[in-house]
Symmetry: C2
Subunit: 292 residues, 2 copies
């Protein structure tokens, strides 16, 4: 599967994501935030593909030892975000299990252009853009693990309830992007996936990347922030000829988008420091899979 | 949610079902049969709504303690049934977890008519029809639990790998049915759901119901067979005026469909014995939910 979304007939796209307790969220996380996270990780895929969220199906495996209050909290969080993103819940399946909470959402979206920007459509010479600020996901998780929640409220919020780019970004991507993805596995890993799929390389400049600030007490080196998952910002490439239009639209709609590098011949992702010297990356991202 | 499927734009329907290890299948069930079951419980919903299966998304929570051979078996079963039902796999999500296996499939189908027969569309006077033979699901599970697999191979097969009606039934339903559902919660429970949603009652005659034969050594009384889940046959209502056409089409296409009663004024489901006397039901079906 080269992409997180699939294109259906008549301009609909579809994407699905599963969250597993202890893997994608912590058992102690408030369940309203888990309901919101489920909606947002899917909306993130949708926006990143230049589409607006439309309808959803919800599959729930509910642990028999959880309370009715927990269920109420989950449904409250889920419902409020479905409303906030203008999504109709059209179906689903509910069952229970003796152990952990498992939730899936399948989201249908309306594509805003005839072509959906795939991972494999990046071209040599394309600018590489990201939305928002990178690193809140990893910083938030570390803050929770170290009982420093009150010192890093913004990052903790981002970890629990991904703060997505405006859905206006979907219009920007639909209009200008060649390739795109959301940053769910880490900036470097997701950019490497785009490069692999597009058979090109990429160079990005560390000093150009909008990294979260003031998190040094979390032992978060830049490489950790670049490699951490749970970002849910958009990463896209677009021809250099579109740079002016992208910047103008972003200014007008007050969207945070930043050009961080460009695609080039070759393979893989090169990261340069402020002096243009290559930085060696010890790890290239975070693979979902239970052991992380 | 009054129906197992939802209607999308442009004649697509969508349905989704989750299977949880220990709830919807046994831990010792061969995993190729679990893969097939996942496809078939969804195809069953699709056929019951007069639609042909088309595209699917697969969400997998894989237990870290299962072997690669298990995974291979699961994917083999899943793939062979996707091929058999002409379904393209267009997306999904894979993750892992320390405990039980959880699988979801979301199936998109092409509706064969402009109106999808809902649960709530049954009319007083409608004939009530079922496809196939009822009772294999409960008989198969009992045979496995009592180590009598070799004596009831047909029922065991039905339990592990639902033997669906021909997809030709989708055409029959699209053309003639007012209301329909698949029998996943038990014949009586699913018929009661149709009655509730349609604000009518129903009377069915026990002797007219095509029950599985020769299972008395499993202590399976008729009421158990009527109430057991995991049937995955179709239950539909159609105007009496369509009876001749339905029988003719069924004969021509060699489809097993049986008229078992009719809808009427009132509420709830009455079951009559061969003498026309009402039978009291001690339970009305099997609710998915982990405690059954």
């Amino acid at each position: 599967m080269k992409d997180d979304v699939a294109l259906l007939d008549s301009g609909l796209i579809v994407t699905t994501d599963t969250l597993v307790e202890g893997v994608h969220f912590l058992s102690a996380d408030p369940l309203d935030t888990v309901g919101q996270k489920l909606v947002r990780v899917n909306v993130s895929d949708c926006i990143a593909k230049g589409a607006l969220p439309h309808q959803a199906l919800f599959n729930l495996v509910w642990p028999t030892n959880r309370s009715d209050d927990d269920l109420h909290a989950l449904i409250t969080g889920l419902s409020s975000d479905l409303r906030a993103f203008d999504i109709d819940l059209i179906g689903g399946d509910t069952t229970s299990s003796p152990d952990r909470l498992v939730l899936s959402l399948t989201l249908l979206g309306r594509s805003l252009s005839d072509h959906v920007p795939r991972r494999g459509n990046a071209c040599e010479g394309d600018d590489i853009w990201v939305t928002g600020t990178i690193g809140h996901g990893v910083a938030g998780l570390r803050a929770i693990e170290r009982n420093l929640e009150s010192e890093f409220p913004q990052s903790v919020l981002h970890y629990r309830v991904p703060q997505l780019p405006s859905v206006e970004v979907a219009h920007l991507i639909a209009q200008h992007a060649n390739a795109s993805a959301d940053i769910s596995d880490g900036l470097i890993a997701d950019l490497a996936n785009i490069c692999d799929a597009s058979q090109c390389g990429a160079t990005i400049k560390l000093s150009d990347i909008p990294l979260v600030q003031n998190v040094s007490s979390l032992d978060s080196r830049s490489v950790d922030l670049l490699s951490g998952g749970d970002e849910y910002q958009c990463l896209f490439t677009a021809p250099q000829s579109q740079r002016g239009a992208i910047e103008a639209t972003a200014r007008q709609a007050n969207l945070a988008v930043t050009c961080i590098g460009c695609c080039e011949a070759g393979t893989g992702v090169n990261v340069l420091d402020a002096n243009g010297m290559p930085i060696k990356l010890l790890k290239t991202g975070w693979e979902h899979g239970g052991n992380s």
